[in-house]
C-alpha cells in the first residue's frame, strides 16, 4: 500500500531542493530562453500554431531529455552518496514511496516548467498575428490554441517519461561517475539512439506498414507521433495520407516507459531486508 503522506513528504523535499539549486534554475532559464526565442521568431507568422509546433517539435524533443537529466540524475544517487539513503531506510518509507516521492517532486516542477514555457511561447507567437490570417487558406479551422495546447501537454507528458528514465539511471548507479554516465546515456538513447534503431529497422525492409506502431515504442518518437497525429494532422487542410504514428500505441508506449522506469528505480534503489 502506498501512503500518500510519505510520498508527499519526500516530494516536498525534492521540490525545495530544485528551487534552491541555482545551477538548475539557470538550466530552466536557458530552456525558457531557447523556447521563448523560437516563439518570438514565429511572432505574427502566417503559419499560425501549426508552424510554431513544427518549429518547436525538434528542439523540445532534444531539450526535454537534457532538462530531465539536469533535474533528476543526482536525485537518488545523491541521497546514497551522502549517506542519507541509509538514514531514510530506518524510517518506515518503502522503496516505492520513496521513488514516487522523488519522481513527483522532480517531475511535476519539470512538467510545470515545460508547460508554462511552451504556453508562453504560444502567447508570444500569437502576438502580432494578423486578424485574418492567410493560414486559414491553407490550414483547416483546426489550427487553434486548443490544438497547440495538445502539443504543450504532450511535451509535459514527455518530460514526465524522461524524468522517470533518468531516475531509474540514478537508482541503478553505484557511484557519482556512473550516475553521470548513465544520465547522459539515457539522454542519448531517448533523444537519438532509439530513433536510429527505428531507421535501421526501416532499412531492413521488414517493418513495412508497422512503422506507425513501432514509433510508439521509443519515447521520443512516441512523443513525436502523438504531436504529428493529434496536434498537427487535425490542423492542416490536406491530409498527408501517411500515418506518422499510431496515437494509441504512442500513448501506451510513453505511459509504459514511465511506469517501467519507475518500477526499475523502485527495485534498484535498495535491496529489501527481512524485518
Amino acid at each position: 500500500m502506498i501512503r500518500p503522506r510519505l510520498v508527499a513528504a519526500v516530494a516536498s523535499r525534492e521540490v525545495r531542493t530544485l528551487l534552491r539549486n541555482r545551477a538548475l534554475l539557470a538550466v530552466a532559464a536557458a530552456f525558457a530562453a531557447v523556447v521563448l526565442g523560437l516563439g518570438g521568431a514565429s511572432m505574427g507568422s502566417p503559419g499560425g500554431y501549426v508552424s510554431l509546433t513544427y518549429d518547436l517539435l525538434l528542439p523540445v524533443e532534444l531539450l526535454v531529455p537534457v532538462l530531465a537529466f539536469a533535474i533528476a540524475y543526482q536525485s537518488i544517487r545523491g541521497d546514497d552518496e551522502r549517506g542519507t539513503l541509509s538514514i531514510l531506510r530506518t524510517y518506515s518509507v518503502s522503496r516505492l514511496e520513496y521513488v514516487l516521492g522523488v519522481f513527483v517532486g522532480r517531475a511535476v516542477p519539470a512538467f510545470v516548467l515545460v508547460v508554462a514555457v511552451l504556453g508562453a511561447a504560444g502567447v508570444v507567437a500569437g502576438l502580432g498575428a494578423p486578424p485574418t490570417s492567410s493560414f486559414l487558406a491553407t490550414h483547416s479551422a483546426g489550427d487553434t490554441p486548443l490544438i497547440y495546447g495538445r502539443f504543450v501537454l504532450f511535451a509535459g507528458w514527455y518530460v514526465l517519461a524522461t524524468v522517470a528514465f533518468v531516475l531509474a539511471a540514478s537508482a541503478l548507479a553505484r557511484t557519482d561517475r556512473e550516475a553521470l554516465a548513465a544520465g547522459v546515456g539515457v539522454v542519448v538513447i531517448v533523444a537519438f539512439l532509439a530513433d536510429l534503431a527505428l531507421v535501421a529497422l526501416l532499412t531492413t525492409g521488414f517493418v513495412g506498414d508497422l512503422i506507425g506502431v513501432l514509433v510508439g515504442l521509443a519515447p521520443a518518437s512516441a512523443f513525436r507521433g502523438l504531436v504529428l497525429e493529434l496536434a498537427i494532422r487535425p490542423a492542416i487542410a490536406a491530409d498527408p495520407g501517411v500515418a506518422t504514428g499510431h496515437p494509441l500505441v504512442s500513448a501506451l508506449g510513453l505511459a509504459g516507459w514511465t511506469v517501467a522506469a519507475l518500477a526499475t528505480a523502485a527495485v534498484a534503489v535498495w535491496r529489501p531486508v527481512e524485518r
Partner: protein, 246 residues
C-alpha cells in the same frame, strides 16, 4: 537483566571470500551503551548495517524490537545532509516520516544544536553535522540507536559531547550501539564493549572488567593484545616512507 532488544543468533555474513560474521552470537539489552570495536576491515560497519536492517544475513537470525513505528535509528559515518536546507528543516523533514508529532526545536536542543536551528547544513562544522545526525536518530523515539563512528575526525571536546549525548540516549532506556576507534572515550562512556575480529565477537564485557581480566592498564592494551596486530597483516609496516629514504 532485561530482555535483549537486538540479537544475532548463529549469524553469518561475508563478501565472497571475506568473512564478516561466522556463526556469531550476541544479545544486547535496552538501556545500555555498547561500543563495537575492532581492527580496520574487521566488519564493524557491516555488522552495524546488519543490526540496523540495512543488509540481510547470509544465514542465522537477527532479532530487532517488535514495536511499531521506527525501531532502529542509524547514523552512517560522516553523513552529509542535503545542502540548502536549514537544521530545523532537516529534522522537520525526517519528522514528517513518522506517525508521531515531532518538536524539532526540542530535539535539536537535546543534542546541543538549539542555537543553530536556522543555520544551513552546508555551513555546519563536522561535529555539528554529527550532532544533527544524532538529533535525527531521536526522531520517532526508536528503542535502538546505531551509530557508525560518530566521532571520527572530530576534536576531543566535540567527541566527548557526542559520547555524552549518546550515553544520555542510553540512560533514557534505549540501546545505543556505536563503533569507535577512540578507545579512551569508549572506556569512559560505554557500559559494554564488543570486540569483533575474524568473524567473531572475541571480547564482550564492561570496559573496566575487560581491562582487569587482561591485567592491562588501558583498554587500548587489551585491544592490541587481543587482535595481535591482525589489522597490520594487510600492510607492509616496514616499508620505507619518503622521509625515511632521505
Amino acid at each position: 537483566m532485561s530482555e535483549p532488544v537486538l540479537e544475532f543468533a548463529a549469524a553469518s555474513f561475508g563478501f565472497g571470500d571475506v568473512t564478516i560474521l561466522d556463526d556469531a552470537n550476541v544479545a544486547l539489552e535496552d538501556g545500555t551503551f555498547v561500543a563495537l570495536v575492532g581492527p580496520n576491515g574487521a566488519g564493524k560497519t557491516t555488522a552495524l548495517e546488519l543490526f540496523a536492517g540495512l543488509r540481510s544475513l547470509d544465514t542465522g537470525t537477527v532479532t530487532r524490537p517488535a514495536t511499531t513505528g521506527r525501531t532502529v535509528a542509524y547514523l552512517p559515518q560522516s553523513p552529509r545532509f542535503r545542502p540548502g536546507f536549514t537544521v530545523r528543516e532537516v529534522v522537520t523533514f525526517y519528522g514528517s516520516l513518522v506517525e508521531t508529532e515531532v518538536d524539532a526545536d526540542a530535539i535539536l536542543s537535546r543534542v546541543g544544536l538549539g542555537g543553530a536551528t536556522d543555520r544551513r547544513v552546508d555551513e555546519l562544522s563536522g561535529g555539528m553535522t554529527r550532532l544533527l545526525g544524532l538529533a535525527q536518530a531521536l526522531i520517532g523515539d526508536p528503542p535502538v540507536v546505531v551509530l557508525d563512528e560518530p566521532t571520527s575526525g572530530l576534536d576531543p571536546d566535540i567527541a566527548d559531547h557526542i559520547f555524552e549525548a549518546a550515553a544520555s540516549m542510553a540512560a533514557d532506556g534505549r540501546l545505543v550501539l556505536t563503533t569507535s576507534h577512540d578507545l579512551e572515550a569508549v572506556s569512559r562512556y560505554v557500559d559494554r564493549v564488543l570486540l569483533i575480529a575474524n568473524g567473531e565477537f572475541v571480547l564482550d564485557g564492561p570496559p573496566a572488567a575487560l581491562v582487569e581480566q587482561a591485567g592491562a592498564e588501558r583498554l587500548r592494551d587489551v585491544f592490541s593484545s587481543t587482535v595481535a596486530g591482525s589489522g597490520r597483516d594487510a600492510v607492509d609496516i616496514d616499508a620505507q616512507t619518503e622521509g625515511d629514504s632521505a
